[in-house]
Symmetry: C2
Subunit: 675 residues, 2 copies
């Protein structure tokens, strides 16, 4: 111990250390102490061993992700579009699961002591008195009830199982935030009415249709004697809620690459982002349905009303919180922080994270708050960031989304074999597949019919089929189903959900290309052309939207960002001094511009009329081709592509085209670009 | 529950949902189930409450960090250099600590049950049988032994306390990796001999000097009766090891801003990065010193040899592992992944993280492995990354470093008040301050004297004083001292360490500017001028370095990166086919270049001789001024600045100057730039 580590290279060791070593020898001999630190060692060593095991387990997942990345690269390199990275991650997860299950046999360690103490509750923290010393234990959760089963458990498999709350508190937030942050797309806001209809009404319809069908199946199973435990109607509804959250990353990645119709893209993407929020709040409201007294699982008006109140309260609370933090970040980044990209990015990250924590601390749903925070950040804060911070925040959340998504999907593959309490019931599984199919149909077709009544730009039947087909289930469904696997019903749901996710991601995801050609969906569509031939803006330009747009454009944008007209121009004269003090100096420079770069939210009257004018003139008006080339070159690997630049360019290109339209000049269509 | 959420805006609710609501009413009434899920609810609610509390606590820290960022911005905006962000984070932490300690009074919840069971050990996992149901508990650690004391504990304060392992497994790795990744500096490698001497020998000297002095103080305290518990010599040595890790972020930030001598910067930065690694392995080796039998804490040759073996084994193992993963990443990024920045960045991140996990799983020190992994990544992998990925990885680790560092420092401030078992012993504290001062002096002055014997470019006495003064203690010292606070000795060490960190960061950090002017250290120094006037390369260009440089340049660089000469040129002719297959096509393009952009590692003979030539001609040769302007504009807020670009430009600029030197042309010195 008194010796010096040998210097790595080229330095002569000094003599002073030798002297120290000698000194030390005498001092150590002189200090004879009592030996009561010996008993610490055993505990320390055990904790160390446990930590080592944890590291090894986490390493398995990191290796899985690394492998996935390398294979994705190979696929992208060879332009092989059949399997998406998430599907791939699942396959690797499955393989590792099989190996762990059947290949590795770790002898069962006897380290799990079972205490049978007279405790009447299971507290979150437990102090255990071990011969005079107190050890603190934290509650990890309830383990499966059957003691006999527990002992048979494979130690290794139990070790690679994560706390389900990890998904909700660590992995889902970046995915959902990224979805919200990349949602700022011109076509999303064009179709917002339809998207909201699909996301809100559609999800609720789907939830109840699936719930009812499953209740039918479950009742039948009970009669036939196929059911080994309780399965209530609330369980059926819960199942309906969790499998109603769609996640068409695979489909959207292909859409993006092939330049499929932008409206279809916007509808699918918008729906999938928002229905996650609806499904999560819906499922927690269903769990909260607790009739008073012993007579649970029966109908009770009060309890149902309470559940409905919870739904509204949690949803609107989360929404308000997310928007509030987004606005606050916009205000901070508006008044300060420019020129310090690191500080800006750090603040952006922290504020977005605090949205999640704040919502959770208030009893709202963090994931939903984070979604709306992301949308608000994209709409306001993004404009205030320096260009470097814009890139940094995009890239950061793109990376986090990529890692979290692939982690979840590979974990999904793994759990098919590593989860210890699977309940695969063939009848229930068949019923679930039928219900999921019918639930999706009951969402898409009737709603599309109703929406088409009001839409100028009809959702064509082949679009409806694609939307039906693209009802993939993914990360959210998995996270919701693994959150609670304590009861028989939940275990059966979890196992079935896994199979649904596998089926939809592999079969529906892999079948996207054939589906597109079968449905004769045009690919390689120029987004501007699509945009102009389909005059879908009438319906969305209803008065509440127009009012909101005007309010946003005239007051919120100038207040929160550096774009938009100065407040001095929009506020009444009496508010002059206040307006001057709140307006950014840059805003005056923008005054001449009619369209700021966020006019994607809704079209104002001028552009709507010019678009109509354009449509009457030509149906193949096409804008900037460079824009589309740029889009394909991003070759987005994450869920949503980043096309702020695109948005901006589109807005400009459209202005150009619109002007051409009103001047009755037929825009040229370059045939080379459409080859 | 059967009702639909009111759509946010402008969508007519369809009638189908009303129908569903009616249907549901009947179905729910029909499904009367038993009530055995009621007892689940209590547990669920408790877990929920605990989760909510955790979110709120984490939120406190996020808010603290946000506040710190805003204040830093204000400081930077006003060019106020007195207080560094880390010092600021500590102040905010202190304030919140005071508020939590004296302001908030949360009534003690009685949720902590104390079980007094006949368990003869404390296992890592505990299954508790609560009336037939099994709950899994995980060991959190031992709590302070005195039961009476425990009850008085403030619930709130205990809640804001993190598991100390969080620092080691989550917060330290990004900081250390960032340090390694930003270490690739031309001047670091020039001074590598001296840096290694300070880091290895210096840390060991400091550790033993502090240990011996503290042992003297403790022995005296025992005589006087000031000591309330055991304090062995190994404890003293352990204290010496943990307070020997320096962390001069504050000083370096100012150095960077003021353009203080680059060699001084390189010496301080290099020493502080490497001595962290030495201190952590040294401290764990001291903990591992366990003489056999009851007679612990006495001297035993075998145990000491074992400790020494552990030091060597852990250090070299971690080193090898880190370098191996770095090389593997370089190989992967060399042969694949170009053109996909997201995949590259993700792989880079995952491989670096897996280094940590792999080291921990193998029983080595993850933090040390991560450090050497970072250095290897910077030296090889960085050159293979696409420019976008280079930016992304830099920015990512810069952000992580910034967040982790400020989190640790604000937590430090908080623990001064929130930690429950502080032992402030005035004598021990005075002794520690004296020991830390003398230990630093025993490191710097004798070693500098020895090094100056061999160095051409002497380390001047004012440089030595600054190095002495810049011995700030920071994140590593804190993390090491909070890791184990079970015994009286460790608690006293922890409290004292906190004070040392506060003192050094505030007083030494804040006094950097006066110190620089008092020591008449030149500021605004042109790095090239410094570089050329001080011919410090002779000593470092000793044969082992030259051999390594040649090996690296001729074989490793071409094998692992796209720079350097092609292997076909450097390998013997017999290896022709192999060399052709391993060489990147880009390498042939580089063949003409003598200096690749990593020639900073060491100067080859040609440039050394040209430098000597230059020095004989002029002492005020100055290179590119733009480079230095660029450096100051980055205004780095993290620990180490990113100056890959700078390195590259410096290398080019230097070539230019060197050529001018050999041609005996006196370079011009622009007086405007030195104003």
């Amino acid at each position: 111990m008194g010796t010096t580590p040998r210097p790595l290279v080229g330095v002569k060791p000094s003599n002073s250390l030798l002297l120290l070593a000698f000194l030390l020898t005498f001092v150590l001999v002189g200090s004879r102490g009592e030996s009561n630190a010996m008993d610490n060692v055993a505990t320390e060593r055990m904790a160390e061993e446990s930590h080592r095991q944890d590291s090894a387990n986490l390493l398995i997942f990191i290796m899985l992700l690394t492998l996935t990345i390398l294979t994705i690269w190979l696929f992208k390199h060879r332009r092989f579009r059949f399997l998406h990275e998430t599907g791939l991650a699942m396959i690797y997860g499955l393989l590792v699961g099989v190996i762990l299950r059947f290949g590795v046999h770790v002898p069962q360690s006897m380290s799990d002591l079972v205490l049978s103490c007279a405790v009447n509750a299971s507290p979150a923290t437990l102090l255990v008195n071990v011969s005079g010393r107190f050890y603190e234990y934290t509650l990890k959760g309830e383990v499966s009830r059957s003691k006999g089963h527990q002992v048979q458990d494979d130690e290794m498999l139990r070790k690679v199982t994560f706390d389900p709350e990890v998904f909700f508190n660590i992995l889902l937030p970046p995915i959902i935030f990224h979805a919200g942050y990349s949602l700022k797309r011109r076509h999303f806001f064009r179709n917002i009415g339809s998207i909201l209809a699909y996301a809100f009404m559609g999800t609720v319809i789907s939830c109840f249709v699936i719930g009812l069908i499953m209740y039918g199946f479950v009742s039948f199973m009970k009669v036939v004697g196929q059911l080994a435990g309780d399965f209530y109607f609330t369980d059926c509804l819960f199942f309906g809620a969790i499998v109603s959250a769609t996640d068409p990353v695979t489909v959207l990645a292909i859409f993006n690459e092939l330049k499929v119709d932008v409206d279809l893209y916007a509808l699918l993407f918008g729906e999938s982002v928002l229905n996650d929020a609806v499904a999560i709040v819906l499922s927690s409201s269903i769990v909260a349905y607790q009739p008073a007294g012993d007579n649970s699982h029966s109908f009770e008006a009060m309890a149902m009303l309470k559940s409905f109140g919870i739904f509204l309260g949690v949803f609107s609370g989360s929404f308000a919180l997310g928007v509030a933090t987004g606005v606050m970040t916009a205000l901070i980044s508006f008044h300060m922080l420019r020129d310090f990209p690191l500080l800006e990015t750090a603040l952006f990250f922290l504020m977005s994270w605090s949205t999640f924590l704040l919502a959770e601390a208030c009893g709202f749903t963090g994931v939903v708050a984070v979604l709306f925070c992301g949308i608000t950040q994209a709409h306001y804060t993004y404009n205030n960031l320096s260009p470097e911070s814009q890139d940094r925040t995009k890239q950061l959340f793109e990376l986090l989304n990529f890692l979290a998504e692939n982690f979840i999907f590979s974990y999904m593959g793994l759990t098919l074999f590593s989860f210890q309490s699977h309940v695969f019931n063939p009848m229930f599984i068949i019923g679930a597949f039928v219900a999921v199919f019918l639930g999706r149909a009951a969402n898409i077709y009737p709603l599309s019919f109703l929406l088409n009544l009001g839409r100028k730009n009809k959702i064509r039947s082949n679009f409806q089929h694609v939307m039906m087909f693209a009802g993939l289930r993914g990360a959210m469904t998995f996270a919701l189903s693994i959150r609670d696997t304590a009861t028989y019903a939940r275990q059966m749901m979890f196992s079935t959900t896994l199979l649904i996710v596998f089926f939809t991601v592999w079969i529906c995801g892999g079948g996207t290309m054939p589906m597109l050609s079968f449905m004769s969906i045009p690919v390689g569509v120029d987004s501007d052309q699509e945009n102009l031939t389909n005059t879908n803006t009438k319906h969305e330009s209803a008065w509440p939207f127009r009012m909101w747009y005007n309010f946003d454009h005239n007051y919120l944008k100038p207040l929160l960002t550096h774009s938009g007209p100065p407040l001095t121009a929009t506020l009444p004269a009496c508010c002059g001094p206040l307006a001057r003090c709140l307006t950014s100096p840059q805003a005056y420079e923008n005054e001449g511009q009619l369209h700021d770069d966020d006019s994607d939210f809704i079209l104002n009257d001028a552009s709507v009329s010019s678009m109509f004018a354009d449509v009457t003139v030509s149906t193949d008006a096409s804008g900037s081709h460079t824009v589309n080339r740029k889009r394909s070159s991003t070759a987005s690997t994450g869920g949503g592509p980043w096309d702020e630049g695109l948005d901006h360019e589109l807005a400009q290109a459209e202005n150009e085209v619109a002007i051409r339209g009103t001047r009755l000049v037929l825009p040229m269509d370059d045939p080379v670009e459409h080859a």
